[in-house]
Symmetry: none
Subunit: 201 residues, 4 copies
């Protein structure tokens, strides 16, 4: 008589199902085409049921964005150790872009601006923090020309995001090969940020 899944787990599972479906819908159709009705339909449940899990449409979109960011964070955490700081950043850069290209819906969701009234909820906390820690370590190790870890982190992030989102948003554009773009951009940026190698002389 006792349920296989305890009640809380069942609830959580259903909730994450909703988020997954909504994520797909939102990433695919964009802001305009997203509607609770369609989510409910894909979930095979009544529209009202969604309100048992989320207070409003906006609330659900919050959750979608957060979930997408968590996924991004995990993919950054999984990076293998590297031999040098430079290599490590190059790997992270590549991992970031490739995550976005592999999960364009999630990526789009993560950086969509769900509410016209900007709320402070969606800070890319953990993922950004992870990058900052890496940068700070680099600063401590003296590999960067600048000491301002925050600035360095933000501009690296901006570059990664720029390439990723452009490739996603304009799939039909005659891009140069992705690998070339990723490497060229990360190389140029890191070269510009890193202290020049001591010229052997």
């Amino acid at each position: 008589m006792s349920p296989k899944q305890p009640r809380a787990a069942k609830r959580a599972s259903f909730e994450s199902d909703i988020i997954a479906v909504a994520s797909e819908e939102f990433g695919r159709r964009g802001f305009e085409g997203f509607s609770l009705r369609k989510v409910a339909q894909k979930m095979g449940c009544a529209v009202g049921t969604l309100y048992l899990y989320f207070d409003s449409k906006e609330d659900l979109l919050h959750a979608v964005v957060e979930a997408s960011f968590r996924a991004l964070l995990e993919s950054l955490r999984a990076l293998p150790p590297a031999n040098s700081a430079r290599e490590m950043f190059r790997n992270a850069f590549r991992a970031y872009v490739e995550f976005g290209l592999k999960h364009p819906h999630h990526y789009r969701c993560a950086f969509a601006q769900p509410s016209p009234t900007p709320s402070a909820k969606y800070q890319p906390h953990a993922a950004f923090d992870l990058m900052r820690e890496k940068v700070k370590a680099g600063v401590r190790a003296g590999v960067f020309q600048s000491n301002d870890a925050e600035v360095i982190t933000q501009i690296i992030w901006a570059s990664m995001h720029g390439l990723t989102s452009l490739l996603i948003a304009r799939p039909e554009f005659p891009w140069e090969p992705r690998n070339v773009l990723i490497d060229s951009l990360s190389d140029a940026l890191l070269t510009g940020l890193f202290r020049a190698k001591p010229q052997s002389h």
Copy 2:
């Protein structure tokens, strides 16, 4: 007795009024809050009247965004002459980002995912082309380490776009001062791309 404004001029003036009002509406409310009703109301005319000037909502939006990007192109063209290639690129970089921050919704719209009706795809082609010409000139002048103008253009574009769209998408994030970010990113990137200054000594 003859009309002050000839008919065509009056029409053109009204049309650009609509675009201006729509632009403001779209800039204020963004994609989802934008409706022909509100535009008509602000114009003080009937909704149907808008259809005398634009075939559809999408059509009007297209005109709005196009007008914005004409403005970007002009602001890129109007850049004051620079003393060096490096300075020129830095100025362009800054102008680009600042344009995006001044018209966040338009910028976002231009890079939004293509709508189901593919007609409404806004391509900042002209601006990209302008950048490429500048890069090509730089390549000819031998300022870049690489000769591949296309790759260089694309990664510069990606960086500009990345910083712009991040700042737009996450206005509440504790960003470092914009000027710092713009300068740091463009400097680092250009340093990485440019041929190292011949150490004369």
Copy 3:
């Protein structure tokens, strides 16, 4: 405390209420005057509510016309038994025409030119099939000069339809009394179709 009407019954009842109201509206105003708004208003419900029962205006109209033709079929089926084949056909003929005159808009709609969306094509198939069965029985009984049941059915149908639709389309024309027309036409046609009575003498 339990509801008088179970949910399904209530739903079905409401649905058939809608059809009834829509039917009246359509019957009164015809094709062009028919609008969901008016139906909702007469129903005392919101327009959107209609969409809980029918997918679209067309869908509702389809149901309306279908219901009418079910009624035609039933009235053809409910014809009292006749003493002779000839009388039976005359009764059917009359029932058909009178049905059309009682529901002129529905009848017209059923034979209106197919709408751009081909889904909404109303075919009085069943009634036609019923007629064909009767003709076939007549052929087997040897009452017709010809053996071609299909041809006979089609020309009987054409005659019934012709009188019906003309009377509907030109209500202001100085027609002879309906009964006279119905009887005269069916008599002449059946006389022409039936095998001449063996002159016994």
Copy 4:
């Protein structure tokens, strides 16, 4: 300086152009899809211009119907002389149906009911009168069993109309060959209406 066409002729020509276009539109799109805007567009003139020729949409539709009927009348007038009354009616019957099939748009227009408020304007005066004259001649010649020319005319008309409009309205129906239907129906009907041939004995 003097116009090739006198003013009145030019006006009449333009008017009949409008009617032709409207006829085509109305016959093709049916009642729902017909709009003055589309007519004006096909005419290459402004919508307002139509109002210089017709007081209203309804007015134009009146003219369309009348014109269609005139065309029908002319085709009936052009019938070659026949050897017998029976043959003459058979020819007329066939001519009528074939006119409808050759000009389905016109035919549909002629029998469409343009206004929900039935007006007495659309009586198929001339064409119907022509048929009645033929019937009257037949009555005088004693070929019909009945003397009531009006009734005879009306039921012949109904039959012709029925076959014609059914074939037009249901082109996809598996009809027997048209010729067979036309001949069978007219034969049966005329047989029923005509006085039996004096049996030679």
